[in-house]
């Protein structure tokens, strides 16, 4: 008999314990293919579309729209169309009888660590262990390591994955020193030397992608690959409207419209995401540091950074991942890239495809590992 698969409440990020089943996109009896968007899930941190890991017929819908379920709860059952209803019944019965939600704190989320590099504090979050080449995740302007909520754990199977807070961001020093992407990369390279692994796959987003290109360049033979997501440094313009609003607004309701520019679907931006940005900006020195970094790299509506020479000369594989509805870097879609660079455009995605289409981006990164 073919296998019966459970669709369960996914764990979106380290601290999630329960989620709201916002919508079923498919109906009972539909034929589902793996990767198909079947559910919308909301947590306090993020609203996300959930893609089926399995192909087959959706025999049973167990989770109701509007219901809040612990991580791992049975939401539906997918199996071969020929599977008899009795077998599905007993599968559901057995699952429900044996299901125990993970208790709060039982799988405590890993805590960020700090290191002093070049005399300044750098914070980072490390997950996973193993001998394979490690991964460095470098967030974009105004963000921090927490932005990799849907990627960090997924990539950390059999390898270390370290997400950094760039200087001026998150829990890292606000005494930035050099504000250009090369100077920021120096700090990340210094940090990488304290971490243990000797080779890194470097992944960066937006301004952090330009930093990532410099990090890989400086790592030289220690760079295993480079993944650039919606990168700064391959086209000329940037939304000054976004950057001005991001830096200026101090209230959640005023800031929200600017953050909503990040994703193709503005409803992805949760109350908590907006609040997290405000919290980061309130830390002593953060506003000045962010303003200086913006002026150095993204003055007005312009990018003063160009990474195309670096990635053309790279001795390691390089890929660029773009969203086709990026409002922040609107000219990235028509950017000329060196022929050696693999380019993937993700349909229906804005400036943050690693959040909007996490499974696709994770798969693309995994191909490089």
């Amino acid at each position: 008999m073919s296998e019966i698969h459970s669709i369960v409440m996914p764990k979106l990020g380290l601290t999630m314990q329960e989620g709201l089943l916002a919508d079923w996109i498919v109906a009972e009896g539909d034929e589902i293919s793996a990767g198909q968007h079947i559910l919308d899930i909301e947590t306090s941190k993020i609203a996300n579309s959930y893609e089926s890991p399995f192909s087959g017929k959706l025999h049973r819908i167990v989770g109701e729209v509007g219901g809040t379920y612990p991580v791992g709860s049975l939401l539906g059952v997918i199996a071969d169309a020929a599977t008899p209803a009795a077998a599905v019944d007993s599968f559901v019965e057995e699952f429900l009888a044996n299901f125990k939600p993970v208790e709060a704190g039982a799988d405590a989320a890993p805590s960020p660590e700090t290191a002093t590099v070049d005399g300044q504090r750098m914070r980072y979050l490390r997950m996973g262990e193993g001998e394979a080449d490690a991964v460095l995740l470098i967030h974009g302007f105004g963000s921090d390591h927490g932005t990799w909520i849907l990627n960090h754990g997924a990539l950390a199977e059999g390898r270390q994955v370290v997400a950094v807070d760039l200087p001026g961001h998150g829990g890292s020093t606000k005494d930035v020193g050099g504000t250009g992407v090369s100077a920021l990369a120096d700090r990340v390279v210094s940090l990488s030397k304290t971490l243990g692994p000797t080779r890194f796959h470097v992944v960066g987003h937006s301004l952090g992608a330009a930093v990532a290109a410099h990090v890989a360049d400086k790592l030289g033979a220690s760079a295993a690959s480079l993944t650039l997501i919606a990168p700064v440094g391959i086209s000329a313009d940037v939304s000054a409207d976004f950057l001005d609003g991001f830096l200026r607004e101090q209230r959640s309701r005023k800031l929200r419209p600017y953050l909503e520019m990040l994703s193709a679907d503005p409803s992805m931006i949760s109350v908590e995401m907006v609040e997290d940005v405000l919290k980061a900006k309130r830390v002593d020195g953060a506003q000045a540091a962010l303003t200086a970094i913006r002026e150095a790299n993204l003055p007005g509506g312009r990018q003063s950074v160009d990474i195309r020479d670096i990635i053309a000369a790279a001795a390691y594989p390089v890929q660029v991942i773009l969203g086709d509805r990026d409002q922040i870097l609107p000219s990235n879609g028509t950017a000329d890239l060196p022929p050696s660079v693999k380019r993937t455009v993700i349909a229906g995605s804005g400036h943050v495809p690693y959040l909007e289409k996490a499974n696709e981006v994770n798969a693309l990164i995994q191909e490089m590992l």
Partner: protein, 343 residues
């Protein structure tokens, strides 16, 4: 970021500001231990252990244990503030405000105005409020609306550890007298609090939930009840916006009006007595400024107009609860549908 209690968040705010600025001093009853305290001199750190460890770090010239007379040490703190220090005075219970009200109301609050802007009074009075610990009528009141009434004072009522640290740092850096209200039941509440210093600006409400049906405005501890009620109501198909004003003076009227214009319904949750209170103030402000946006009359969920009872059963009934908030929200939803049915 790491998990810290409300108590630790306040301690960290005091410590970091004292490290940053040598003019910040602490004054209060038993804040370093007090006469006769067992063990080390800062064994106590105040009745709730909030200032524990600060005497050891900063010494007796910056952590001053005072005598049991608010009239003089609150007055001394106000005077010190006008002469260049930034005192953080601890008024153990807000119920003792009466013993030093002239120093607060007629002196600290008036200096900047009466000296033509040439004097500033960067004084913080931290004080404990609220019912729920069987402390009876003289140690359980919520008196933030009394001081909100007085021009020249800023009034802060934090709802959780993150808010407490950022708002206390802002209070210490502010050049006007600030009364900072700490709910005694919140001291053990834990939450994510950044290790770094950060300041939350005054007069900027925090919108903790976004919804379409009802705006719930809640003060201090009540914000947590309102959030829980909003989450429960969401599962019942009613979506609420929850607004935490953070400071009752200045009050972020703009956010109150904006959110009510979106929902058309208002419920205010206030642990204080119901007359001349934040609840009445917020409802009258919204009614006079956004009457046309209201689909139905606002409701207040407050304590009754009585002293806080000592009887545990009555005290529990006295305090607004999640259930009472949910009932009020359902009531403002129902009143409108009744009217629609009648028309």
């Amino acid at each position: 970021m790491s998990k810290k209690s409300f108590r630790q968040a306040i301690n960290e705010a005091l410590r970091q500001e004292m490290e940053r600025d040598p003019t910040v001093i602490l004054m209060g009853e038993d804040i370093s231990g007090g006469t006769g305290a067992p063990g080390e001199q800062d064994a106590w750190g105040g009745p709730m252990g909030v200032t524990k460890g600060l005497f050891t770090q900063f010494g007796e010239s910056r952590v001053l244990d005072t005598h049991l007379a608010e009239i003089s040490f609150i007055g001394a703190a106000a005077g010190a503030a006008t002469t260049g220090l930034r005192p953080v005075a601890e008024l153990m219970f807000n119920d003792f405000l009466g013993t030093c009200l002239d120093q607060v109301m007629n002196q600290a609050a008036k200096f900047r105005y009466m000296f033509g802007g040439k004097a500033q009074t960067p004084l913080v009075i931290r004080t404990m409020y609220g019912a729920g610990v069987r402390a009876a009528a003289q140690h359980s009141q919520s008196l933030y609306s009394m001081v909100t009434h007085i021009p020249g004072l800023k009034v802060v009522v934090p709802s959780n550890p993150y808010e407490a640290k950022g708002l206390l740092i802002q209070s210490i850096r502010d050049n006007d007298p600030v009364i900072f209200f700490e709910h005694k039941v919140l001291y053990d509440m834990e939450g994510e609090v950044p290790d770094e210093p950060y300041a939350i600006p005054f007069g900027q409400a925090n919108v903790t939930r976004e919804g379409d049906d009802v705006t719930i405005v809640a003060i201090g501890r009540m914000v947590n009840f309102a959030n829980a009620a909003a989450d429960a109501l969401k599962r019942q198909g009613i979506s609420c916006t929850v607004v935490d004003p953070r400071t009752t003076s200045p009050l972020d009227v703009e956010t109150l009006i904006e959110t009510v214009e979106e929902t058309g319904r208002l419920v205010v949750v206030d642990e204080a007595n119901p007359r001349c209170s934040m609840a009445t103030d917020i409802i009258s402000t919204v009614a006079s400024r956004a009457f046309d946006a209201l689909k139905t009359a606002p409701l207040a969920v407050t304590a009754p107009h009585t002293p806080v009872p000592f009887s545990p059963a009555l005290e529990d009934l006295f305090i607004p609860s999640q259930m009472k908030i949910e009932e009020a929200v359902r009531a403002v939803m129902a009143r409108e549908s009744n009217r629609a049915a009648a028309e």
